[in-house]
């Protein structure tokens, strides 16, 4: 039975082919059959995790904490120089100019992306907004979050910064950014599960050397970064502690 690789469902649709190419490359490098399973929702992915179906995962930091603490996953690598940031935006025509002008009862459009939602809600706290006093509108994608704002069905939207940047210029012109996070230390991580943990060192060495040859560099280019960086166990523990402090 092949090992299963999956990617946090918040990945950019532009990178779907990139992950398939990455998986083909990885199988050749380590001589193992790996199946790439991309889930449409966080819920579907979480079910697969709970059923211990996953062996390799490019996880968002929120899920990474659960995977390491509860499922025995170990950190491998992260994309160097990348970090997860969130953007709070409103309709361009909105009278709101600052987060603190928002009031309880506001309709907040989000996706199921847990770390982005967390970062976004932290940025709404200065207006005394919490999950208990706003109306959360969960959308299937960031494009749909934008549409909620454009149609006036939501007062404010929480976006993954990368996803916001990927919106078309026509959409972006009709939106207004109130605040963008500058956290810098929260990012996705590639983790290995218990069944494949015996090959952890080899996997990490292979991935860290990926940018050395041209083929590896091309694969990384399809994922929109240049090189992997190692994650030591203590780095991962630090990230988990950080997520714990934020998740209150």
């Amino acid at each position: 039975m092949p090992y299963i690789l999956t990617v946090s469902p918040d990945f950019s649709p532009d990178h779907i082919s990139g992950w398939y190419i990455f998986n083909t490359w990885l199988q050749k490098q380590i001589g193992e059959a790996i199946h790439l399973e991309l889930y449409n929702s966080f819920q579907a992915q979480h079910e697969a995790i709970h059923l211990d179906k996953i062996d390799l995962i490019y996880a968002n930091p929120f899920d990474a904490a659960m995977l390491v603490r509860e499922k025995g996953f170990l950190p491998l690598v992260k994309a160097q120089g990348m970090s997860d940031e969130a953007i709070i935006a409103v309709n361009e025509a909105s009278a709101i100019r600052d987060v603190t002008e928002l009031s309880p009862g506001s309709r907040v459009a989000v996706t199921e992306d847990p770390d982005v939602r967390l970062m976004g809600m932290i940025m709404l706290e200065p207006a005394d907004l919490t999950v208990d006093n706003v109306q959360i509108k969960v959308c299937d994608s960031y494009v749909l979050v934008a549409k909620q704002l454009l149609r006036g069905d939501a007062d404010v939207g929480i976006f993954l910064a990368e996803a916001y940047d990927d919106l078309s210029n026509i959409i972006k012109k009709q939106l207004k950014i109130l605040v963008q996070s500058q956290i810098g230390v929260i990012q996705h991580a590639l983790l290995v599960g218990p069944r494949l943990a015996h090959r952890r060192d080899e996997l990490r060495d292979t991935l860290l050397a990926m940018n050395v040859d041209e083929k590896g560099r091309d694969v990384l280019k399809n994922l929109s970064f240049d090189v992997w960086a190692s994650i030591e166990d203590e780095d991962m523990e630090f990230m988990i502690d950080l997520m714990d402090t934020l998740n209150t």
Binding site: P126, V185, E237
Partner: protein, 158 residues
């Protein structure tokens, strides 16, 4: 290390007070009434060892405190202690994290230039192999309502 505050570092008119800090440290504090607003979208992150000595910090900590990274590393976290903060708040913090629990509260922090900034702080114990090896603290922008509440409450707690 932690030193007495120096007049040449202070911006604006200041008052003086001597504070007894954790670990038997006495520090001369020079403080002003100038507030630095907490910047949108940023988090101040630091870790300390079990005695509260800073072992790791991020850029936002440097920017908001006014100290250099070198001045903050290996200094007690009480370098930020503002005289308007009641000692009972920090006792509660230490009692809570010593039990292995998460602490959250609103804190008025002291800058190197004598000014201050308000934060919503969360502190958690770092548990490794079942043992507390230090603490992580994350500070974020507080709501003005909470700051106003605490500005009224804290003077009553001395």
């Amino acid at each position: 290390m932690i030193y007495d505050m120096k007049p040449e570092h202070i911006i604006g008119e200041y008052q003086e007070v001597t504070l007894d800090l954790y670990g038997g440290i006495r520090r001369l504090i020079l403080y002003t009434q100038i507030e630095t607003p907490y910047p949108d979208g940023k988090l101040i992150v630091s870790t300390t060892d079990t005695s509260g000595v800073i072992t790791h910090l991020n850029k936002s900590f440097v920017e908001m405190s006014g100290y250099t990274e070198e001045e903050l590393l290996n200094a007690p976290h009480s370098i930020l202690r503002h005289p308007d903060m009641p000692p009972v708040a920090f006792k509660d913090l230490w009692d809570t994290v010593s039990r292995g629990e998460k602490w959250q509260g609103y804190v008025k922090n002291l800058r190197k230039d004598g000014g201050y900034y308000w934060v919503k702080a969360t502190v958690i114990p770092n548990v490794r192999n079942g043992k507390v090896v230090g603490y992580t603290s994350v500070r974020r922008k507080p709501s003005r309502t909470k700051v106003e509440e605490c500005s009224k409450l804290y003077p009553t707690l001395f």
